[in-house]
Assembly symmetry: C2
DNA sequence: GCTCAGTACCTAGTCTTACTATGTACCAGG
DNA sequence: CCTGGTACATAGTAAGACTAGGTACTGAGC
């Protein structure tokens, strides 16, 4: 991040990026390279590939996703991640926290502006 | 944080808390103890005092706020922070990043739910 | 006088997470 | 053969919130 939005966005992404990826996976399974590309398309232009792979490994180790290796027509095999029950719970929790934050910030923005 | 919202909120606060404090200061000057108390009242129940003081020192060193020492009726003198021009710019930038994130996440939530 | 609670500030060390930079491997087209 | 696209991985760094303390000043109650 940095080009599309401010330099502070790196810090603001922390924790949120995980929710974003869980949300992406809740619509359909995906693999790392694909997730990175999709997010870059959606405006996270400077998102580092390594960040996504590290994140995927983390959520796998926490048991939020199931993993399957699928051969690719072009290039090495893909590691396809599927959101499981634990992951869905975590996503619900993420949306709860997110809602709390947006409510607080919406109010602050009213007061401030 | 933790009681009010999920355990993941600690990471999600990173970067955002700074924007929250800048927004608070944009309505009127305030000092650390007061800011901590206000935020706790507003639902950030587990917010650590030390976190706020560290943050205030950071934004002071970045030149986003002006500081004035004011005697208190009860207890040691207060360090009152006032948002200055640089701080207001930073706040604008914060809101820009925040809007970007909320737009992305709103869309993800639609798709996902 | 002394203690305790409330006010007010500060800091060293830890943990998590995003980024940098780089490396590996597989494949097709020129 | 060699470049570019696909696909995954990791060691090291930086930033920020938390833990767990500590200091100092004041007034109320015993």
């Amino acid at each position: 991040m940095g080009a599309t939005v401010g330099r502070q966005s790196t810090e603001m992404l922390k924790g949120i990026l995980e929710g974003i990826v869980l949300a992406l996976l809740s619509t359909r399974p995906a693999y790392g390279y694909e997730i990175t590309a999709r997010l870059r398309d959606q405006g996270f232009t400077d998102l580092a590939e390594g960040t996504v792979y590290a994140l995927l490994i983390r959520i796998e180790q926490r048991g939020l996703v199931d993993v399957e290796k699928v051969p690719s027509e072009k290039g090495p095999p893909r590691k396809v991640f599927t959101l499981n029950a634990r992951g869905r719970e975590d996503l619900v929790e993420f949306w709860r926290t997110w809602s709390f934050l947006t409510e607080r910030l919406d109010q602050l923005r009213e007061d401030g502006a």
